[in-house]
């Protein structure tokens, strides 16, 4: 059952549409990520859920209760915990006072507050730092204070607004897993906003990709990566070669489509679900750099086998990065092995038809 339901949400800032009538459901206990470039409306959506923004139209239902149509519910009354991008840990209060700030406003005895604080400090690994001021903590520790503050009131919903974007790369990778396992252990329904696709892949049960105020795709990390709904999604998540072409026809009895491109009259591609493939339609034959196979010598057999020239070659340690030129089209390749050829030499490569998908123009 949907725990959070967003219905027809519409929000404008000075005539600029930030969120364009989106519908979305978050299941109970799910960790859902809103992913997209800056300005796509992901943060606005999150702030609408929190009640920090009032949408022009639409409704938000949390745990069966309407937050808007039945009278605007203030953020404080929504049963949410929130982590802000800059943590928003109050610099003039000690760690302990930061964490119990919200609890003190409720009618809870001092003893209970103390106990809860002890538990949550242990949970996020901040024991012994209660009496420090935020200025005396590292970025990672401040982030844990923010997390503890968001969790202490046992919220029904946890909202996270790019909580890791201020950390350095190493710590960020570590915290992804920590937050995920913590949230999963507590079973809190969570909405997570990020522009970092790798972060979204690691952390999410489902990803919602947004572009210019619209939802363009919802799916598991696997689905989003393997079956992107559009060129935008494919480009935003991971890297992708887009080879412009025109549909020639469907090969009968298979799921393969024949596409005419600059360098080949019959490039075989897998037709993705729902994509119409009428002959003559302009499409992109799309393949990820790591799915392109390269060969130093011409292989015996293989479909979609082509010969090109190495335009650029770079060694990145765990793999090789190539730009192959073929009749003016450049193909990006991530090759996992050594190659004898240098820049300017010829090379063979194959575009596996099952990995080569068709995306509408």
């Amino acid at each position: 059952m949907a725990f959070i339901e967003i219905r027809n949400l519409f929000k404008q800032y000075k005539k600029v549409t930030a969120v364009n009538r989106i519908n979305l459901e978050v299941k109970e206990g799910e960790l859902l990520t809103l992913l997209g470039p800056s300005g796509c409306g992901k943060t606005t959506t999150l702030r609408c859920i929190a009640g920090l923004e009032k949408p022009e139209e639409g409704d938000i239902i949390i745990d069966g209760k309407s937050m808007i149509s039945g009278g605007f519910v203030q953020p404080a009354k929504r049963g949410i915990g929130m982590m802000f991008q800059n943590y928003a840990v109050w610099p003039h209060m000690k760690v302990y006072n930061n964490i119990v700030y919200g609890l003190r406003l409720q009618k809870i005895s001092r003893k209970d507050i103390k106990e809860k604080a002890k538990d949550v400090l242990e949970l996020v690994g901040l024991q012994g730092l209660e009496d420090r001021y935020p200025g005396q903590l590292s970025g990672g520790q401040q982030q844990r204070v923010a997390l503890a503050r968001a969790l202490i009131r046992n919220p029904k919903v946890l909202l996270l607004d790019e909580p890791l974007s201020n950390l350095d790369a190493k710590l960020r990778e570590k915290m992804r897993f920590e937050i995920k396992s913590l949230v999963k252990r507590m079973g809190i329904t969570s909405v997570y906003v990020t522009h970092d696709q790798a972060e979204a892949m690691v952390i999410s049960d489902r990803i919602v990709v947004m572009e210019k105020g619209d939802i363009v795709q919802i799916g598991s990390p696997h689905d989003i990566y393997e079956k992107p709904a559009s060129r935008f999604v494919a480009d935003f998540i991971g890297a992708m070669n887009f080879i412009p072409g025109e549909v020639v026809g469907v090969i009968p009895g298979t799921n393969e489509v024949c596409v005419r491109t600059e360098f080949s009259d019959k490039l075989l591609c897998r037709s993705t679900d729902g994509n119409v493939t009428t002959p003559g339609q302009k499409v992109y034959a799309s393949i990820r750099p790591e799915d392109v196979e390269v060969f130093a010598e011409p292989p015996q057999v293989g479909e979609n086998l082509f010969k090109g020239t190495i335009a650029n070659k770079a060694y990145l340690g765990n793999f090789l990065f190539l730009f192959i030129d073929i009749n003016g089209t450049t193909i990006r390749v991530q090759a996992p092995h050594q190659l004898p050829q240098e820049e300017g030499h010829e090379i063979y490569f194959s575009l596996n038809p099952q990995k080569c998908m068709i995306l509408p123009e």
């Binding site: 929190a50 203030q74 953020p75 404080a76 009354k77 800059n86 109050w90 700030y101």
Partner: protein, 559 residues
């Protein structure tokens, strides 16, 4: 670093030594002299702190400072909150209006309120005519009037620094409190206000120091038992009585010590408490709220009220300036340009003097301020922090201390005071920080790599400064120039000690005309002229970009 920078720094220091350190040390030496003997000692100070009269003035001044701070804070917090947070029309105009007293000469306000709220002033006459009161009420003569007038004059300092504080708080600090369940008022008390304390304090200290500086307002209101007024009377009227003169100097030194101590304490506290948040910089206007209709109306009324009080100053002075024989009438009945004619005929030199002295002081200010800003912001010359410190300290120094010390120092030893050049020099050192702070603030925002790129291209430091830095800083520099001019133009507390016949400036003329019991109208006309000139200059600042001004007046140093 480079020899050029060291040389420049040495040059600036020698100017500071001549115009600040030397006269102030003479002031202290004089305060230690015992009259009638050639001895020196702390007798004067002992007497000062044992004499019930001097102790009373000291205590009075402290009470006045506290009251003024209390009143400005109480009225300033809501005002700053409205200006910083509520989205409403006409905000810019209101901001400009409410901040007007900061640039208006303090004495202009005093005269206006005397005319309006005086014993047979407009307010009393209107109330009596309406039959609401029998006898005139005492609105301003007394302690309460002093608190009222000084508070209105200093209100902008509190408001400006609080607005800077409110707008610079990262909105997420308050949003986090909102999510945690804190209601509006509670959020304000527990999060917003504490985060503003550093900015508040920067303004509060200026407010608290004002009664230790302003001798004129109490004098006009018939109150003399305050430190600066007593000092002024002792020194200006009893120059022949050596003992009273020395006691006056002691009062000046005591005021200065109080001012500097408090100023330094506030600075130290702000420095200690500077909250370095993690935010990557906030939106330009911070958090803005759309208030409900009731609150909106209330806040408008409140702004109108303060703006009306401020506007009273130019309006009343204008009425008085364009009329004659305005006595025992609520409003003038006889309109004339006579006052201006008298000014033009009898004392055109005043206007000329004001412009000439302020302009020369301004040239000194720029010639000193630009290299000083460069040294402080861009180099590591030893002692540059001390230089910054000395210059900023001049913000806290009472004008009367500078005036008296110049009088003592440049009369015998270095006889500068016999030449009119002493006037612009005194204005220059009195207003030293104004240009520098603004230039400094905009210099800090200039990315150093822009200058480095020029040096890498083979252009020397001086040419880089002229060709690259200065054009990029021009906005801040121009605002600083105009601001300095305004502040020099309205200066009186230093100049009054140094002027000789023929050197009178407009502010001095205003004071003298009032003091000699001549026509009030001429004083009013002069004050009105000053307001008009100041207002034009303010418009110029607004044209250039008032934002720079806000940045410079914002909390703490080095913003």
């Amino acid at each position: 670093m480079s020899r050029g920078n060291n040389f420049l720094s040495a040059l600036l220091w020698s100017i500071i030594a001549l115009l600040v350190i030397y006269p102030l040390s003479i002031l202290i030496i004089e305060s230690l002299k015992v009259s009638g003997t050639g001895d020196s000692g702390i007798q004067n100070y002992l007497e000062f702190f044992q004499d019930t009269y001097y102790l009373k003035t000291f205590w009075n001044t402290l009470v006045l400072s506290t009251m003024v701070l209390l009143v400005t804070t109480l009225f300033g917090i809501p005002l700053a909150y409205i200006l910083a947070r509520y989205r409403q029309r006409g905000k810019t105009i209101f901001t400009a209006l409410i901040l007007l007293p900061i640039v208006l000469p303090a004495y202009a306000g005093v005269f206006a309120f005397v005319i309006f709220f005086g014993k047979f002033g407009t307010m009393n006459l209107l109330l009596m005519n309406a039959g609401l009161i029998e006898k005139p009420l005492n609105f301003i003569y007394g302690f309460h009037g002093l608190v009222f007038i000084e508070s209105l004059h200093m209100l902008p300092f509190i408001v400006l620094s609080l607005v800077a504080g409110f707008t610079s708080i990262d909105p997420s600090f308050e949003e986090a409190a909102e999510v945690e369940g804190a209601s509006g008022f509670r959020r304000f008390i527990t999060v917003t206000l504490p985060l503003c304390t550093p900015s508040y304090l920067a303004g509060a200290v200026m407010v608290f120091l004002w009664p230790f500086t302003d001798w004129l307002t109490p004098l006009i209101l018939g109150q003399v038992d305050f430190l600066p007024s007593v000092a002024y009377i002792n020194i200006a009227y009893h120059f022949t009585d050596a003992h009273r003169k020395y006691m006056g100097i002691v009062a000046v030194v005591v005021s200065s010590i109080v001012c500097i101590t408090l100023f330094l304490l506030a600075r130290w506290w702000v420095e200690k408490r500077k909250y370095t948040g993690l935010s990557k910089g906030t939106t330009a206007e911070g958090r803005v709220i759309e208030p409900g209709p009731l609150i909106k109306t209330g806040s408008y009324l409140y702004m109108y009220f303060i703006a009306a009080l401020v506007l009273l100053i130019p309006i009343v002075l204008g009425l008085s300036a364009f009329s004659r024989r305005w006595v025992f009438e609520p409003f003038p009945t006889y309109w004339t340009l006579d006052n201006f004619r008298v000014i033009m005929m009898e004392s055109p030199g005043l206007i000329k003097n004001s412009f000439v002295f302020s302009s020369i002081a301004l040239i000194f200010g720029v010639v000193f301020g630009l290299p000083a800003a460069y040294i402080i912001v861009r180099t590591r010359v030893p002692g540059k922090d001390a230089l910054d410190f000395m210059i900023t300290l001049m913000l806290a120094f009472p004008g009367i201390a500078i005036g008296v010390s110049y009088l003592l120092a440049f009369w015998k030893g270095i006889p500068l005071a016999t030449h009119w050049i002493i006037m612009p020099l005194a204005l220059f050192s009195r207003r030293l920080p104004y240009f520098l702070r603004i230039a400094h603030a905009s210099y800090l925002q200039l990315d150093i790599s822009l200058e480095e790129a020029s040096e890498v291209c083979g252009v020397g430091k001086f040419r880089t400064f002229i060709r690259i830095s200065l054009p990029l800083l021009i906005k801040g520099v121009l605002v600083g120039v105009v601001m300095f001019f305004i502040m020099a133009f309205q200066e009186i507390s230093t100049a009054i000690f140094l002027y000789r016949g023929g050197w009178e400036t407009l502010p001095i003329g205003i004071y003298l005309n009032w003091h000699r019991g001549m026509e009030f109208g001429i004083s009013a006309a002069m004050a009105f002229l000053m307001i008009v000139i100041t207002f034009i200059l303010l418009l110029i600042i607004a044209r250039i970009g008032g934002g720079v001004l806000k940045a410079a007046w914002g909390p703490g140093e080095g913003r």
